[in-house]
Amino acid sequence: MANPLRLYLACIKNTLEAAMCLQNFPCQEVERHNKPEVELKTSPELLLNPVLICLNEAEKCLIETSINSLRISLKVKQADELENILTKKFLRFLSMRAEAFQVLRRKPVQGYDISFLITNYHCEEMQKQKLIDFIVQFMEDIEKEITELKISVNTRGKLVATEFLKQFM
């Protein structure tokens, strides 16, 4: 039986390949302005149906597309309190440095842990396939990093506790 995580990531990848067909589209409301329509949502004819892909109740991905921009929001698994604070800390750390990532949104969409905003300009500067691979790799790396952090913190706590109790006993 195929790994559900693999299937989940494959589904996201295929959806992004279909959704990432962006073109330049000036704003219809204001002259000489060019805004990502997925953020404004003022003209329904420019928006496509959002796609929600769920691995389980805790992990899901929302892909919202418009004519000139695409928003990807991720909810990451948080099994316990420690994973919860590690995820919050780490994703907030990345979001605050969104200018280094360009495609990252400073504030995640409500109900999600992290969000990306990809515009037609990003697609012109970056290779579409590699960008999609980056998003998928990002998701895998985040989960791997949080798991490793949790294990490291627990291991460290165990070692420190052992050292303290060695002196005590």
Partner: protein, 344 residues
């Protein structure tokens, strides 16, 4: 007590400075350490071989065994730190519990001087340790039945916001530390640490206070990270183990805070490292890789707009001119300019 090192670093440094000074120096310093310990050092140019060191700390215990002042036994131990060097001034300086008169000319020369000054700097650790040692010895020798009848725990406060309790149980003493943290992430890291500690024998963690602490002040029993308790048997109080046991109990809060601080630093370092790797991954998606490479190093995406210089600029200009000539509709054919014509 918030330090893991026995000697006070500021006191040690100041005494070293006075001891090594070539000319007599005037010092009248007042400093605090870790919120509850205060020191005063006085040295005058008129009598440069005498230094007065005063110290004070929060020494509060409430319960069946009460100590509010320094024990006489402690004074004897202090004098033995460096015979001939330390004199205890009675009465101590106003606002302090202990004033010592140090005779610097009696300090032996060479490496011994460093050892003596280090031992003098451990004065606070000595005072607090000796008090707790006495307390543990008294409680340990209490009869079990006497202890059960009068089993009110002793509340020990060496730092205003960090009290801990010691009470007698059959064949052992138990030290209980109520743990409180203001930051949510500190609380979670500490809780996972205590859950690891709980696996050891004679150590217990509980989110609710032990029933022996019933009747104690509510602010002590309301905690964010539960209660850690250690069982102390007579084995821990006999001989040389007593010093180690007492030092570990006194420094438990400091140890936990230090561990949390190091864990947070470690998490921060890992996050930065992972962020760098993700950014490098994103740079690889760029169409124009030359714009991001300079002297073999990768630049961040925000610096992707690079102004070309020198030969590259000339090449680009020629390309631009050629393109413009090609698209302009020239009907005159000029020999030798075939490269500027379309369809040629």
């Amino acid at each position: 007590m918030a330090y893991l090192e026995r000697s006070s670093p500021t006191l040690k440094e100041t005494l070293h400075k006075i001891y090594r000074a070539e000319k007599p120096i005037e010092i009248d310093q007042h400093f605090y350490e870790f919120g509850s310990i205060q020191y005063h050092i006085k040295c005058s140019t008129s009598d440069s071989n005498i230094v007065y060191v005063s110290t004070s700390t929060l020494l509060e215990t409430q319960g069946t065994v009460t100590f509010k002042e320094i024990l006489s036994h402690t004074y004897e131990v202090i004098k033995k730190i460096a015979v001939g060097v330390i004199d205890i001034v009675d009465p101590p300086r106003l606002g302090f519990q202990l004033t010592l008169k140090l005779h610097l000319d009696n300090i032996p020369r060479g490496k011994e001087a460093i050892k003596v000054i280090t031992r003098i700097s451990e004065i606070q650790a000595l005072i607090l340790s000796s008090q707790l040692k006495e307390m543990l010895k008294v409680m340990n020798f209490q009869d079990d039945s006497q202890a059960m009848n009068n089993n009110r725990p002793i509340r020990i406060v060496y730092h205003p916001s960090e009290p801990f309790y010691v009470f007698k149980q059959p064949e052992k003493l138990t030290a209980v530390f109520p743990m409180n943290f203001t930051d949510n992430s500190d609380m979670v890291i500490a809780t996972s640490f205590f859950q690891e500690m709980e696996k050891a024998p004679r150590c217990n963690w509980s989110p609710i206070p032990p029933f022996q602490l019933r009747g104690e002040p509510v602010q002590d029993l309301t905690t964010s990270s539960g209660f850690v308790s250690f069982d102390i048997t007579s084995r821990h109080i006999e001989g040389k183990s007593l010093d180690k046991t007492v030092w570990n109990l006194l420094n438990f809060y400091a140890y936990v805070k230090y561990h949390i601080k190091c864990s947070r630093g470690y998490i921060q370092r890992r996050m930065r490292k992972r962020m760098d790797s993700l950014v490098k991954l994103l740079i690889n998606t760029s169409l124009d890789e030359e714009a991001h490479q300079k002297d073999g190093r990768w630049k961040y995406v925000k610096e992707r707009v690079k102004v070309p210089t020198g030969k590259l600029m000339m090449k680009q200009r020629c390309k631009e001119i050629t393109r413009r000539v090609k698209i302009s509709k020239f009907r005159i054919k000029i020999n030798g300019c075939a490269r500027f014509r379309f369809n040629q």
